[in-house]
């Protein structure tokens, strides 16, 4: 309802005492939101426990606020940030009647440019999660907050005299200036204390490589808008690399203008960047260094050496495109490869990479940091341990034995969002505030600072943030808001008030630091010993659950992973050849052994995976935190070496002869006979068939005729559209059993096709929403007119009229219709639901509506202004989320609209067009050199 939303607003002022000055609108209707949310918190607890249907109607239009407020307060938007690996993406949170209902990208923020990823979308879900921790507990028993304050005071009294000896603070990766400042203050107050960071997904080798190359911990940030040729050595700039949304946008913008970067991806485990690569080289980890060295040598980097058949060709392409050529290195590569890459980029005088001061407040090799704290614990030097946000008991390598160590510390405090593996082992268990309900600040991948402001009041009354805990430890308790204000007051001086308001309005608190041009050190080249032969374990963040911190987001668990299409868990991924060599078929259970530790995992062959290595996605097998994530898949941390390495040789794999249930929506079809996905050579076009003849005159579509065009050349299969659709349209989560039965409810699915030989296929993605066919096959078979067309050409699904014959789905060649096999309404009826979209009862069909509620909203907004709808007034949820702007939506009656222009593109085609359904959703063919047009 972009059209209907008032301008974004800043924070709520502190509540004033009530004054009966009649009809004076209180700013932003702050109070009714608070109250509504209090009600809602209760209702959630209820619906979670008793499963009661009659929850109080939170923020119900009938529930007038105590204080008068302008109607606009019903819908408000807040610009804030959400973090991934400690680095922020700017988002805009839409609230309805005070509830955060949708997260969208902040166009002004460099790490978002208006797009979101699945993790940002899921934030509203975790915010309202009934499973989140709500009470302060001591050894599992709820205690009043005062007891915690007393305990911290006591700790202070004990630590102060001895300069904080025995105090250790363990946080996740910290980019927040405020948190860094407070931590610094704590370390100053307690000189003997130590601060450690822990991030299971950290790429320590990158840090080490940069240090080797330049003597300082720099971040190499690609600029794909200027790149012409990109060599990704295990790097996944479109997927898991920090700043991926930005990189994806830069990449597609340049590509659309015909100066796009040629992606050369050498990787062991297929990534979405690899799927979109112009050239992809399955690269066994053991050969990585040799390959990188060979390329470097071919580029004339002195001291570099190595041999690889593909190296010469790759080097030639890079040279040809200098200075637009760049080498990017990702997780799983050794420090020497990172260093090599820096040398290569220097050699190529690459303009497509920026060397920036590291966005983290204190960049450090995190595995080493964790190792040192373990050593101290072992030496009995740790008496007080504060774990703020991190969950090492789960995501530290099991080899470290963190859980055992934790028990030997007298005073342990865990600040966690839910009662997770670490919480259970700590004395003090403090609920952590959700990013959407707490103050803070943070830096983006390029160092751009931004403020985090609450979009809602705390849903967990007792929840706290790192800042509250640390300031309490300092003896000067401060609210997060005050602390953040202090930080920026110091930075901004007297211009503070203006800039503060601006920062909250815009979602940015400053500029990115300028790039550096440090000289390459002499001794950068320190080759590593060659990796021993044999089966290699490759650890990787799971596309759905990352390191496991997202394992409790039901939306993400159920979202099929882009390439494997696995849901609700993970599996040991390997090349089909490797599986065959071990006599394994998909779904066979294997026992994996590494360094004497064993796990059981399902085997899952993935076309294009490098042979002789097995990818073990992290984030499975959670042991605590709630029913959603617990026991989904296997826990790869159990095998991870103590040094937190991303690759480890010496893996052994044997079949247990049992079958493991892998829940997947993949049908193992690798062919695409119906040509659902078309490909053209650069500049090529597809034959544009004329409108197929019909005996009857077409129905007129006065005013608008809505249509959608999806550019398959832009789609990177990131699933953001699908999750955005789920969030926007109250699409239920059905659970693994139902998914395995073929009853998933996603209105928008992303089909994945492989072309070419199994060892190294070309993969393509195709988002498939409802086609809204003008001659919809689903409509004539409905006995009760429950699905039909309206004057805008929308293929309507009228839920209250549907009697559930399911014939429409039978007759839908695209199979985009979904049926409510069960009643999902109770689970969906939380404040997180979008009030504009009704909940569907059991036994009715549902499907993509083109976000018809957004159309209606935009229309009434426009007619209120007495004007016609303009192109861009209506933005569907999927379109809004897409990082590469692959989806355009608009009015086909308006020849100037973006979608009309897309339809004029030579790559335009209709899926299954030969069936004469005249779909309103059409596609633009993918561009690939090898395709013969």
């Amino acid at each position: 309802m972009s059209g209907a939303i008032p301008p974004r607003r800043g924070p709520d002022p502190a509540p004033e005492p009530p004054q009966p000055a009649a009809l004076a609108p209180a700013p932003h209707g702050a109070l009714e939101r608070r109250e509504a949310l209090r009600l809602m918190g209760a209702s959630l607890a209820l619906s979670a426990l008793a499963g009661c249907e009659e929850a109080p109607e939170h923020g119900h239009p009938l529930h007038a606020p105590a204080r008068a407020s302008d109607g606009a307060a019903i819908t408000a938007e807040y610009a804030t940030v959400l973090e991934l690996d400690g680095l922020s993406r700017g988002v805009i949170v839409r609230t309805r009647n005070g509830h955060a209902v949708k997260v969208e990208g902040n166009p002004a923020h460099p790490a978002s440019l208006g797009a979101t990823d699945i993790f940002a979308e899921a934030a509203v879900l975790s915010l309202h999660d009934p499973q989140r921790a709500r009470r302060i507990r001591r050894d599992g028993r709820p205690v009043p907050a005062e007891m915690l304050d007393a305990a911290i005071a006591a700790a202070r009294a004990e630590l102060a005299p001895r300069g904080g000896r025995g105090l250790r603070i363990l946080t996740g990766p910290v980019s927040s200036p405020t948190l860094a400042r407070i931590t610094g203050a704590v370390l100053a107050a307690y000189p003997e204390a130590r601060w450690h960071q822990h991030d299971p997904l950290a790429d320590d080798a990158a840090l080490e490589g940069a240090t080797r190359a330049f003597g300082q911990a720099l971040a190499a940030v690609p600029d794909l808008s200027r790149a012409r040729a990109v060599l990704c050595l295990g790097a996944d700039p479109l997927g898991t690399m920090p700043g991926h949304l930005r990189h994806a946008r830069d990449w597609i913008t340049a590509r659309a203008e015909g100066r796009g970067a040629r992606l050369i991806v050498a990787e062991a485990s297929p990534s979405i960047t690899g799927a979109r690569a112009d050239r992809r080289i399955p690269l066994h980890p053991a050969n990585a260094a040799a390959f990188a060295g060979a390329v470097a040598a071919a580029l004339g980097v002195e001291g570099a050496s190595g041999t690889h058949p593909d190296a010469a060709g790759v080097a030639a392409e890079l040279v040809q495109d200098r200075p637009g050529a760049v080498v990017l290195v990702g997780r799983g590569m050794g420090a020497e490869v990172h260093a090599l890459a820096h040398a290569m980029n220097a050699r190529l005088e690459s303009e497509a990479v920026r060397l920036l001061p590291h966005p983290l407040a204190r960049p450090e090799p995190m595995a080493a940091s964790l190792a040192s704290i373990m050593a101290d614990i072992a030496a009995g030097e740790v008496t007080h341990l504060l774990i703020l946000g991190a969950n090492p008991a789960y995501d530290a390598p099991a080899a470290l034995g963190f859980e055992a160590a934790l028990r030997r510390i007298p005073f342990t405090l865990h600040l966690g969002f839910r009662a997770d593996e670490t919480t259970r082992l700590c004395t003090w268990q403090v609920p952590m505030a959700h990013p959407l309900e707490s103050w803070g600040d943070s830096r983006a991948f390029d160092g751009t600072p931004a403020l985090r402001q609450p979009a809602t009041v705390p849903l967990a009354e007792e929840a706290r943030g790192e800042v509250e805990i640390l300031t309490a430890l300092l003896g000067a308790p401060a609210t997060a808001r005050a602390a953040v204000g202090e930080t920026w007051r110091a930075a901004w001086g007297e211009s503070f008030d203006a800039r503060w308001a601006a920062a909250l309005e815009e979602g940015l608190a400053g500029e990115a630091p300028a790039g550096l041009r440090p000289a390459l050190r002499e001794d950068w080249n320190r080759p590593a010993p060659p990796m021993p032969r044999g089966l290699v374990a490759v650890f990787a963040p799971d596309p759905g659950t990352r390191g496991g911190e997202a394992a409790h987001e039901a939306w993400l668990q159920e979202m099929p992973r882009p390439l494997t299409k696995i849901t609700w868990g993970n599996a040991a991924l390997m090349a089909p050849a490797t599986a065959a060599a071990h006599g394994l078929s998909p779904g066979d259970e294997v026992e994996l052994e590494l360094g004497g530790r064993r796990v059981l995992a399902p085997c899952w062959p993935v076309p294009g995976h490098a042979p002789d290595c097995v990818t073990l996605p992290l984030g499975g097998g959670r042991r605590a935190g709630g029913p959603v994530g617990e026991g989904r898949g296997f826990d790869a941390y159990a095998l991870r070496p103590a040094d937190g390495a991303w690759t480890a040789p010496g893996l052994s794999m044997r079949s247990t002869g049992r079958r493991a249930d892998v829940v997947t929506t993949d049908s193992h079809h690798r062919v695409d006979p119906s040509e659902a996905v078309r490909t053209v050579a650069p500049g090529g076009t597809l034959p544009q068939p004329g409108r197929d003849a019909s005996l009857h005159p077409d129905w007129p579509y006065p005013a608008q005729a809505w249509g959608m065009a999806i550019d398959l050349d832009a789609c990177i299969g990131c699933n953001a559209c699908a999750v955005a659709c789920q969030a926007e349209n109250n699409v239920p989560v059905v659970g693994p059993l139902a998914v395995s039965q073929g009853r998933e409810m996603h209105w928008l699915r992303v089909d994945r096709y492989h072309h070419g030989e199994e060892a190294n296929p070309a993969s393509s993605f195709q988002p498939v929403p409802c086609m809204h066919c003008e001659q919809a096959p689903c409509e004539p078979v409905c006995p009760v007119n429950a699905t039909l067309h309206d004057q805008q050409g929308l293929n309507l699904m009228v839920y209250p009229r549907c009697i559930g014959t399911r014939t429409c789905s039978n007759n839908c060649p695209y199979k985009v219709r979904r049926f409510n096999w069960a009643d999902h309404r109770r689970l969906l009826d939380t404040p997180a639901r979008n009030p504009d979209v009704p909940l569907r009862p059991r036994g009715v069909m549902e499907k993509c509506t083109y976000c018809s509620h957004r159309i209606a909203g935009a229309r009434s907004a426009a007619s209120a202004e007495g004007r016609a709808l303009r192109d861009g007034d209506v933005e569907t949820a999927c379109q809004r989320a897409c990082p590469t702007r692959a989806i355009t939506f608009g009015d086909l009656n308006d020849p100037g609209s973006a979608v009309s222009r897309a339809r004029q593109n030579g790559r335009h085609y209709a899926m299954l067009g030969h069936l004469g359904t005249r779909p309103r959703t059409t596609y633009l063919a993918r561009v690939a050199p090898e395709a013969e047009a």
């Binding site: 001659q775 096959p777 039909l788």
Partner: protein, 179 residues
């Protein structure tokens, strides 16, 4: 005999042909109010009685036509005028798709009308009928054949009628009381 007044004279036969002959004779003698009973259809006898089954057919035909018109008309009026909607881009009056129901409803009406019409023409249901007073009449549904000369007929006068019937060599002739 005894009041109440007689309903008529009933003759009982063992053979279908005998009955047919009797009917022919009675008709030849000018009897108009007469009814014959048999355990199974005897077309010849019916013919002799001058009964025609054609009306059943006409009723069915008319009902069928009405049913067809009703079905097609309803579909058309609803789809084109009561609530016209765009269904899969089809024209409002997609008459070919109305035909299946039209056809089925026509047959439905015709069949129902055939049965009901038949009963109506036969004056059924009539649970109680003087004929059942006739002696041994229960065998009319098994293996006997009966001819009734009704007292409504101007030719009727007890003795003469009985005489006439005996002349047809029945197994038995008896008077049937009307109540």
């Amino acid at each position: 005999m005894s009041h109440p007044p007689p309903f008529g004279q009933m003759a009982e036969f063992a053979e279908a042909d005998a009955l047919t002959e009797a009917v022919r004779a009675a008709r030849a003698a000018g009897w108009r109010h007469l009814e014959a009973y048999s355990p199974y259809p005897i077309p010849e006898a019916a013919e002799a009685l001058g009964v025609s089954a054609a009306p059943v057919g006409y009723i069915a035909l008319a009902a069928g036509a009405f049913g067809a018109a009703l079905a097609a008309g309803t579909a058309w009026y609803i789809s084109v005028h009561l609530y016209p909607v765009n269904v899969g881009g089809r024209p409002l009056n997609a008459w070919p798709t109305f035909m299946p129901t039209t056809y089925l409803v026509a047959i439905l009406w015709a069949c129902a009308a055939a049965l009901i019409g038949m009963l109506a023409l036969n004056g059924l249901p009539r649970l109680s009928h003087p004929a059942f007073f006739a002696r041994g009449f229960h065998r009319a549904s098994a293996d006997r054949f009966f001819l009734l000369l009704s007292s409504d007929d101007p030719l009727y006068e007890p003795e003469g009628t009985a005489q006439f019937l005996r002349g047809l060599s029945p197994l038995r002739v008896s008077e049937v009381r009307s109540a």
